[in-house]
């Protein structure tokens, strides 16, 4: 802009200067020419007045010589008679000069008294100006001057003209740059203070600016505001998406067609096992993981444009990978790949547990049935005939049947507790409940000479009586079952700070540490070979745990092999 303004001004000034110079010189030249011609006229008039005797050539010669001497340029003086014969000429030998009657200026002079002409002179061999005057004695005095001499005079002043022109040009340069600066300055000022201008509302006062630029500045301000809003919206969107993906528990990886990582969240890095991965430094998926199965699935998914679900083990976790090809709307070409990773360890483990459970259930159910069918078959086939034996085997069948029923009842109860139904709660007195349990188990304890000790406060809580009965029965039963003959079982129940504490303690066989984590599992038996002997279904503690959980209590077990076991249950006051 600055250059343009400057050049425009310069060109303008140069054109003005040049045309002024040219026009002035033209006018000056014309004026000078006229002046020169007027001089000739004056000379002619002077000469005609000075000379008295026109026939005396010597006298004429002297007068002319005087006049010629008084001017600093050459003039030619000619006297012509009426006939056209030249009678005097100070330049050429007049005797040999041709008749001059046809010269326009002379002819005119004879006619109207004076005449002038400009033409090529044969005598002077140049463009010449002629002026003629008719004298009293019917002769004509003609004075002529070469035009070249006028031009030469004029050329003499051109250096001055040129230097003037040069000075004008220089001045116009300086003026132009000054003007340019002045014009540009407000614009520059706006550009310099644009940031301030756009940030604050000083638009009207602070800056000396062209009025024509104000709408422009306002427009810019508006645009800037719009742009800011737009950027904010985009940033917000980006941050939202960024936060969502970053805080996702699932791993998220976005790849382009060339398997280069475009985006990955923290969970993704952790799950794929490369926490240090920095996707600004590294790009390719190969640098993220070298797991052949994952890489193969990426290839298949991208090239085959199909959704793949694949499970991968990594650091003793099971991860499920979902490979989904990404394509632009309405386009079937694959542009990239989205990978979602889900931690399915818990699901997998519970699946395994379920499988184990159903295997256990079928085994536990089948065992008594096999025994029963075996004995029944023997009797049916007549292998056992004496009534004593039949009685004995039928007793065994009966026992197995009872065992089966107990087992099935346990399973039903467990599933009922699990489902959380049948919870019609009343205020029950724990002392009553435990007394009932002791009555039921006292014979069993007496058989093995086990002491049942109790320290039970008069505590009541809101619960289902049969559940609490079941809970205490199972715990005390276990303590008796897994005890040494002559051992002891101690039950303490008290209420402390609103919490009901039930502690069952024995000095029996104890449980070694490796089993402690698993004893609440269904059908889990510490000593599998003894299960038959002691009876039980392997569901007791599992039921206990579920009852405790149903009342939002906590259960804690401490045990040492050959020392004994302590089970602490705590119900918060409900």
């Amino acid at each position: 802009m600055k250059k343009r303004v400057f050049y425009t001004i310069i060109i303008l000034l140069v054109i003005i200067a040049t045309s002024t110079c040219v026009l002035t010189s033209l006018v000056y030249y014309k004026f000078y020419e006229k002046e020169a011609k007027d001089q000739i006229k004056t000379i002619v008039n002077l000469t005609s007045n000075n000379i008295n005797d026109w026939s005396d050539n010597t006298h004429i010669q002297n007068s002319v010589y005087r006049i010629v001497k008084s001017v600093n340029y050459k003039i030619r003086v000619t006297i012509i008679e009426e006939t056209g014969k030249v009678t005097y000429d100070n330049y050429a030998e007049y005797e040999i000069l041709e008749n001059h009657i046809n010269r326009p200026e002379i002819e005119k002079a004879f006619r109207i008294g004076y005449g002038e002409d400009t033409r090529f002179s044969n005598t002077l061999k140049n463009d010449t100006y002629y002026y003629a005057v008719k004298l009293g004695d019917n002769t004509v005095l003609r004075v002529s001057r070469e035009l070249r001499s006028i031009r030469n005079m004029f050329i003499g002043i051109t250096p001055i003209l040129a230097s003037v022109f040069l000075i004008i040009i220089i001045i116009s340069f300086i003026v132009a740059s000054n003007i340019t600066r002045k014009i540009i300055r407000p614009v520059n000022l706006i550009a310099e203070s644009l940031d301030d201008l756009l940030e604050t509302d000083k638009l009207n006062v602070q800056i000396d600016m062209y009025d024509e630029l104000r709408p422009f500045a306002h427009k810019m301000k508006d645009q800037k505001q719009k742009l800011n809003e737009y950027i904010k919206a985009v940033e917000y969107e980006r941050d939202t998406i960024g936060n969502i993906t970053e805080n996702m528990r699932e791993g998220f990886i976005l790849l382009n067609k060339e398997s280069e990582v475009l985006s990955i969240n923290a969970s993704g890095k952790r799950m794929i096992g490369n926490v240090k991965f920095n996707f600004h430094e590294h790009k390719n998926m190969l640098e993220l993981t070298r797991n052949a199965e994952i890489l193969k699935n990426i290839d298949t998914s991208i090239n085959g444009n199909k959704h793949i679900v694949y499970d991968v083990d990594c650091n003793s976790h099971q991860y499920r990978y979902y490979f989904s090809p990404v394509s632009e709307r309405g386009n079937s070409n694959v542009d990239g790949l989205m990978i979602l990773i889900e931690d399915v360890t818990i699901q997998k483990n519970s699946e395994i547990m379920r499988q184990e459970f159903s295997a256990n259930v079928s085994h536990e159910l089948k065992t008594p049935l096999t025994t029963m069918i075996g004995f029944a078959e023997m009797i049916k086939e007549g292998l056992i005939t004496d009534s004593e034996s039949i009685k004995k085997y039928c007793g065994m069948i009966n026992n197995e049947g009872l065992r089966l029923i107990t087992l099935i009842e346990d399973i039903i109860r467990l599933s009922k507790i699990e489902e959380g139904i049948e919870l019609d709660n009343n205020i029950i007195n724990l002392k009553d409940v435990s007394n009932e349990v002791f009555n039921l188990l006292s014979n069993k304890a007496k058989d093995r000479n086990i002491k049942l000790l109790s320290n039970i406060e008069n505590v009541s809580m809101k619960a289902n009586k049969s559940y609490i009965n079941e809970l205490l029965y199972n715990l005390v039963d276990n303590s008796i079952k897994y005890n040494n003959d002559g051992g002891k079982v101690e039950v303490n129940i008290n209420k402390n700070k609103g919490a009901v504490n039930i502690v069952v303690k024995d000095n029996g066989l104890g449980i070694s540490e490796e089993h402690l984590d698993r004893i609440f599992e269904r059908f889990y038996r510490v000593d599998k070979s003894r299960s038959k002997e002691t009876g039980g279904t392997g569901l007791g503690l599992s039921i206990v745990k579920h009852i405790v959980e149903a009342y939002h209590g906590t259960i804690e077990i401490k045990s040492k092999k050959e020392v004994g076991t302590v089970i602490k249950i705590k119900f918060l006051d409900n």
Partner: protein, 215 residues
Amino acid sequence: MRGRFDKELENLNLELIKMGGLIENSIETTVKALINQDLSLVKKVNEYEVEIDEMEKTIESHCLKLLLQQQPVASDLRLISTALKMITDMERIGDNAEDIAEISQYMVNQKFIKNLVHIPQMAEATIGMVRKSIDAFVNKDKELALEVCASDDIVDNLFTIIKNELIEKIQEDKNNGEQAIDLLMIAKYFERIGDHAENIAEWVIFSITGEHKYQ
């Protein structure tokens, strides 16, 4: 021109990582085949071996092409020469994995003469070394590469322990001899893999610093 060369170098880098991934997978599969006595995995190791050999040839010709056509200097030249050395070691690791798989193929139907305790440990240590050496290459991580070089001693120690155990087993019962020798060879192969991993790590250090241990 330079842009294309950079692209080629990047491709070379990725090819090396890919080959590294293949050998990792190959060893892991081998170990599984050995411990789980799974014949189908042995087959898989053979497939990996073919792929690894293929990869070695591809990378080698790629390197030679780059050397001839681009006449690289400084770190570019180091990367390419490192690549040439690394593929040799990686290919050897692939071979060793296949050798282990081949031996374990005979043991599929045998009962192990002893609980495999130290061999899985050794396998884990060597897999760790290979993985770390490739990681060091991927991340241009000198420290990690040095770590690999240091952990070779662990593998060597385990080899000695296994050797002594097997000697005991043979002394106990002459019939253990055949399997003991097989197991010893497997241990030896793992030890070799460890050495190759160490070599790779040394070359990684060379490609980063321009200095090699034996120069």
